[in-house]
């Protein structure tokens, strides 16, 4: 089984790659408060490796869970940008083998609406299931 550290490391490496950085969309991990103002649109990365799969092949243990990318765009700008950003996330995350530890499933998009904490932002959750090996 890949360690938890390896799972988060492999996933976060995606957001350091030139393929993602060239999109010019700021990404933040959970649990960090930027000291400068956040840009008009950004994503926040959450990993929930909360599902233990059946033990297979002796002591090998696998973990599965969800990868959630919270997508924020300004209100009063329609929803098209949400879908465009989701396509960009698909390019790097959808049905991929990431690093040595994660395999992702097909993505889905949950459009949430105005953000409860900051009504000037519109939020959608881009969601993937993943399994680690």
């Amino acid at each position: 089984m890949a360690s938890y550290s390896q799972i988060i490391g492999d996933l976060e490496n995606i957001f350091a790659s030139s393929e993602w950085v060239s999109n010019d969309i700021q990404a933040y991990p959970s649990n960090i408060a930027p000291t400068s103002n956040r840009p008009n649109e950004y994503v926040i990365i959450e990993v929930l490796p909360a599902q233990e799969l059946n033990i297979q092949y002796g002591d090998e243990k696998q973990v599965a869970g969800l990868i959630i990318l919270q997508i924020y765009t300004p209100v009063n700008t329609g929803t098209r940008r949400i879908y465009e950003i989701s396509d960009l996330l698909d390019d790097v995350l959808n049905k991929k083998v990431i690093g040595d530890s994660i395999q992702t499933s097909a993505s889905s998009l949950d459009v949430k609406g105005n953000d409860l904490d900051d009504p000037s932002l519109f939020r959608a959750d881009y969601v993937l299931r993943f399994s680690s090996y």
Binding site: I8, G9, E12, N13, I14, F15, A16, A27, Y28, P29, I32, A33, P34, T35, S36
Partner: protein
């Protein structure tokens, strides 16, 4: 003189009148925090601002049944906004009397900044 300038002048005068009730406080404000996705490391820098303000201890050891040891001090602080400027954040820290406190919450009314720090 505008009303805003008048209030600012009076707030400064009030802090002058506090005399030795004030003490030196060093605020450390965090800037340029950034997360490196390749390494998982957070980079940030810190800037110190030294000013004078009032510190009031508010620690109350309520749970006397289990222990009389005070594990963490809580204090209130109030400073002149003109001395502090704008660049401070929640969870920044300040040092007074050799103790360092983390800012848990603060209120900025435009003329003074007051808040609660824990630690020490």
């Amino acid at each position: 003189m505008s009303l805003r300038n008048l209030v600012e002048t009076q707030v400064s005068a009030a802090f002058d009148l506090l005399g030795d009730l004030k003490q030196t406080i060093v605020f450390s404000t965090t800037t340029n925090r950034d997360y490196n996705f390749a390494t998982g490391e957070v980079s940030e820098s810190s800037t110190d601002i030294t000013l004078e303000g009032v510190i009031e201890s508010i620690t109350i050891n309520e749970d006397r049944s289990s222990s009389n040891i005070i594990e963490e001090l809580s204090v209130k602080f109030i400073v002149n906004k003109a001395d502090l400027g704008d660049s401070y954040n929640q969870f920044d820290s300040f040092t007074a009397d050799g103790r360092t406190y983390k800012i848990l919450e603060f209120t900025d009314n435009g003329y003074s900044v007051e808040g609660i720090g824990v630690g020490g």
